[in-house]
């Protein structure tokens, strides 16, 4: 098993290097940091721009392979991902934003998965009944609502709720109230109030998506012989469904979970922007707009790592859930 894991990791490393190099080359070709400096007022001299660009390691007059070599040397030897276009540390941005993203996304994603699985399984058991149809229709409505629209609805709802109660019950901008004083409890409550809407938006979307998949896998399982066997043994239908049915129906979902959960770190651009959270997604969009090559590459590196980690997590989850693929 250890040998297998080591091999797997080595293989991932090769993929990672390839992915990062390609991302670096693409970012260097597509972005134009020179233009960023040349558009400044007063316009600096070409030599000054060159100096600045070289200092940041993103001078387009240096061949891209050499630039990548310098960048990679720093990244590998010192764990230094370079400087942003504003000459601040990419690492610092990274470290700050990843926690923001995590805090924003973890509860919503997990909740979406859990609710999606339960709703999907329930819906499958009640196939074609009113409750199943209602869930089907509402998930399609949710799925066809763009995230920003959903978020706006939620915001409006929150405003209405706040006005009706006369208090700032729900807070939907940023992740904490600046300058708040008090104990841990006060801070936690403040976080909760800020998290409510983004979490709701994420888990609703998750619920809609996952419940569709789970309904399908559960339906496959419902007609299965082993469920009938479980009942023939004397298990009640509910126990048979929960223990033998759901347990098997959740296996195909593991891959989806792994990829979606880690993938969401860089994919929640709308959610972050709308609720004013300065996370990874927002960083990525800003970096592209500002021709900030190093930041773009850093986000790409992070994405590559999460994709590979997702693959690994998916395989591990799958093997843990399904004995047939082990060994």
């Amino acid at each position: 098993m250890l040998r297998y894991l080591a091999k797997r990791l080595a293989y991932y490393l090769v993929l990672l290097v390839a992915a990062v190099f390609l991302a670096y080359a693409l970012a260097s070709a597509a972005l134009d940091p020179r233009a960023y400096f040349e558009e400044k007022h007063p316009r600096p001299s070409t030599a000054a721009v060159d100096r600045q660009l070289t200092a940041l390691g993103i001078n387009d007059r240096t061949p891209v392979v050499i630039r990548f070599g310098h960048w990679a040397e720093g990244a590998v030897l010192h764990g230094d991902l370079g400087r942003t276009i504003h000459d601040t540390s990419v690492n610092a941005d990274f470290g700050r934003r990843i926690w923001v993203s995590l805090r924003l996304l973890v509860v919503g994603s997990l909740l979406g998965m859990l609710l999606g699985v339960l709703a999907g399984a329930w819906s499958a058991v009640r196939q074609y009944r009113i409750s199943d149809r209602a869930l089907t229709i509402s998930s399609f409505v949710l799925l066809s609502t763009p995230v920003f629209l959903l978020a706006l609805f939620l915001k409006n709802g929150a405003i209405a709720a706040n006005q009706a109660s006369g208090h700032q019950l729900i807070n939907f901008t940023g992740y904490e109230t600046p300058g708040l004083t008090g104990g841990l409890g006060t801070h936690l409550a403040d976080w909760g109030v800020h998290l409510l809407l983004p979490t709701l938006s994420l888990s609703l979307t998750g619920l809609a998506t996952y419940s569709r998949y789970q309904r399908g896998t559960m339906l496959d399982v419902l007609g299965s012989d082993y469920l009938r066997t479980a009942e023939a043994k004397g298990l009640t239908r509910r126990r048979a469904l929960l223990k033998h049915g759901l347990r098997t129906a959740v296996i195909p979902m593991s891959t989806l979970f792994a990829y979606n959960f880690l993938g969401i770190f860089t994919g929640a651009v709308f959610t972050e922007t709308i609720f004013g959270w300065h996370g990874m997604g927002e960083w990525f969009i800003n970096a592209i707009r500002e021709n900030d090559t190093n930041s773009v590459v850093a986000v790409n590196l992070f994405t590559a790592v999460t994709v590979l980690a997702s693959g690994f997590l998916a395989d591990t989850l799958h093997a843990a859930l399904d004995p047939r693929v082990r060994g």
């Binding site: 293989y11 023939a232 043994k233 009640t236 239908r237 033998h244 399904d322």
Partner: protein, 684 residues
């Protein structure tokens, strides 16, 4: 003397399935009466759609939510129909337990076998985990699973089919049930494994004293196991009697027809008795006897009202003319019209030598690499799927190729049809060595060999009309339109269909008719060799008989040679001139069918033949059965010596000084023997 009250009484059981909106409901079971006494075995026989499985599931209350059950099911006088789900759950598995058909899908794939059996114990008994586990091990031991404690930790996919079915039986008897329902418990298994599992069922029944309800389509299995038999047709019991009486003197024409339709291992040739037509659609039943449309004895009164199940003593039949059948005891062929088949005789061995060879295969081998690893695949071994097969077919001859699943029959077949140089050995098809074929010669040769597949639904394109399906091989060989247009009606008539069927689509035909279409397609290019890969195993007995008769007729008319692959020895016995038996990728015995079946020489052939149940309860009781231990080994290891050795009863009985030969030398069949056997110590 008073008769004790029956254990289980089913009275006027009716099951309806709600259909999709706008369609009529289907009544799958239409008033079934059954009684089951303590300790007895009741066989329920019927073809697909007769309602036999639905009846069994209705007794357990395990039908899907779309089903409505009426009537009465009483266990020891307690009514089960309409009981609350919780009370039924308490009865299931404790008083009535069930063994299902497909043992692979009947276990939850993600839980260990031991846990699943222990769960059955703990649902009904207040015991702790360890005690339940000990009980599970005892049960596995009871059903003959070697090393039961270790087997507890296996997952279902790690068991072979036979082992899984044993475990299934172990789970069913975990709580000493009063009634054991077995729904086609051996249908998915090979015949030697079937013999083992039936033996285990008998053991389980003896140990628990349970009454057994055995649902099966196989008259042989029922004749072997049952005390009483109920025959079902179109959702009702049409005849019910003690097993000997039922087989000796059936009182219902359907039962008579079924018995006549089954090819027999202990009898040769002759046409089978097909029951004309096909079972009625249950959602659109005409009034009167549902069998009347297919019944040669039907009189106008039969169509007026459905006859009730009645009769003298224990022998009941639902037929107006059962009295006549009881009195006259006609043979099936005296009641049913039997097609006159032109005589076909296998040529004498001397004459056979002069006939041209259609197919000659010698020393054929085909291996497949075994890979391991998901990212870095590496070869870790080889599967010897075919490892020393020889075949010899002369013009106009039928060779039956017999073997259990995994024996390499299909691989051998596709090697022959591939028209490629074999990995090892030699294939000569119609006088041409496939190792030396040009692409063009291969294309021409392909027209002279055609194949009919097992599944008549999957092998016909559902979106093509039948005429186009049959025309395809002709088009592939570049025939002109005029010839194709003339050939299609001709072919359809030849296989017993109507010329105007050409415009219809496959789904409009029944299974038997679809297989006839496949045969017509294969015959389109006038092949000399027809390869038939399990052509009737997907069909019901009464339909199968018609297709087998057709094959015999075509062979006589067209002088075709057949390579007939089947796991069903009775069918081979019925149809083939010569037979070739395969075990683990090798030919172990071949010869003229009468000789091999009358005096099998290889211990495997002997065991195989003795495992086939005969549809004759008297003969069944007087038979000596050779039970082979264990399962066929994995073909990934190519052991030294005879591959059959681990299961061989002859080897097991050999004196020590004679054993090394079996351990070191792989026996090969003598190449020119008429009846050759690959065994060092064959039976005389």
């Amino acid at each position: 003397m008073t008769t004790p009250a029956p254990l289980l009484t089913v009275h006027d059981l009716r099951v309806e399935f709600a259909a999709a909106r706008g369609r009529a409901t289907t009544t799958a079971v239409r008033g079934v009466d059954l009684t089951l006494n303590r300790g007895e075995t009741l066989g329920i026989v019927g073809e697909s759609g007769s309602g036999k499985s639905v009846t069994a599931l209705a007794v357990l209350g395990l039908l899907p939510g779309t089903a409505t059950v009426h009537g009465s099911v009483a266990l020891d006088g307690q009514e089960l129909v309409g009981r609350p789900a919780r009370e039924l759950a308490a009865i299931r598995g404790r008083r009535i337990a069930m063994v299902f058909q497909d043992p692979l899908s009947a276990f939850t794939p993600v839980f260990r076998i031991g846990d699943q059996i222990a769960e059955a114990v703990r649902v009904h008994q207040r015991v702790d985990r360890a005690a339940a586990r000990r009980r599970a091990a005892e049960l596995l031991d009871l059903v003959g699973i070697p090393d039961p404690v270790r087997a507890l930790d296996s997952f279902p996919h790690e068991f072979s089919g036979g082992m899984r079915q044993r475990a299934m039986i172990a789970m069913a008897v975990a709580n000493d049930p009063d009634v054991l329902l077995a729904d086609e418990p051996t249908t998915a298994l090979d015949v030697t494994i079937q013999a083992q599992v039936l033996e285990v069922l008998r053991t389980a029944q003896r140990e628990t004293g349970a009454a057994l309800v055995l649902v099966s389509h196989d008259l042989g299995v029922v004749a072997q196991m049952a005390d009483r038999v109920a025959v079902m047709y179109a959702g009702r019991v049409v005849e019910s009697a003690p097993v000997d009486e039922l087989f000796a003197a059936p009182h219902h024409p359907y039962t008579l027809g079924l018995i006549g339709a089954v090819p027999r291992l202990d009898r040769t040739g002759g046409p089978l008795v097909p029951i004309p037509g096909q079972p009625p659609a249950l959602h659109a039943l005409a009034p009167g006897c549902p069998f009347a449309a297919r019944c040669p004895l039907a009189v106008p009164e039969c169509r007026a009202a459905e006859p009730v199940l009645t009769g003298p003593g224990e022998h009941l039949a639902a037929c107006l003319r059962s009295g006549e059948l009881a009195a006259e005891r006609p043979a099936p062929a005296e009641v049913y019209p039997v097609p006159a088949l032109p005589p076909t005789r296998s040529p004498a061995p001397a004459a056979r030598e002069t006939l041209p060879r259609v197919l000659s295969v010698d020393g054929l081998r085909r291996t497949f690499p075994v890979h391991k690893g998901t990212v870095f695949k590496r070869k870790v071994g080889e599967v010897y799927a075919v490892d020393g097969v020889r075949l010899d077919i002369r013009r106009g001859e039928t060779l039956g190729l017999v073997g259990e699943s995994g024996s390499g029959k299909s691989t051998a077949l596709f090697e022959v049809l591939g028209l490629r140089p074999p990995e090892a050995g030699r294939i000569e098809l119609l006088g041409q060595d496939t190792a030396a074929l040009s692409a063009e010669a291969a294309h021409r040769l392909r027209a002279r060999v055609q194949i009919v597949f097992q599944d008549p639904m999957a092998s016909l394109d559902p979106r093509l009309p039948v005429g186009d399906i049959i025309a395809e091989p002709l088009q592939a060989q570049g025939a002109d339109r005029g010839r194709i247009a003339a050939r299609i009606p001709q072919l359809l008539t030849q296989v017993g269909l109507e010329p105007d069927h050409a415009a219809r689509y496959p789904h409009e035909f029944s299974g038997g008719q679809r297989q006839r279409i496949s045969i017509a397609r294969a015959l389109a290019v006038e092949p000399e060799l027809l390869v038939l890969d399990e052509p009737v195993s997907a069909l019901d007995v009464s339909i199968q008989a018609g297709v087998l008769n057709l094959l015999q007729q075509l062979k006589a008319e067209l002088g075709l040679a057949y390579l007939f692959v089947s796991h069903d020895l009775s069918v081979i016995r019925h149809l083939a001139d010569r037979v070739s038996v395969m075990y683990l990728g090798r030919t172990v015995e071949d010869g003229p069918v009468e000789q091999v079946f009358a005096a099998p020489r290889h211990p495997y052939t002997r065991a195989l033949l003795s495992a086939v149940p005969l549809p004759d309860p008297v003969a069944e009781r007087n038979r000596v059965r050779i039970l082979l231990p264990g399962d066929p080994p994995s073909p990934t290891s190519r052991a030294l010596g005879c591959p059959f050795r681990p299961r061989c009863p002859v080897y097991a009985a050999l004196p020590a000084e004679q054993r090394p030969r079996c351990e070191r030398e792989a026996p090969g069949p003598a190449a020119d023997d008429v009846h050759a056997v690959a065994c060092h110590y064959p039976a005389a």
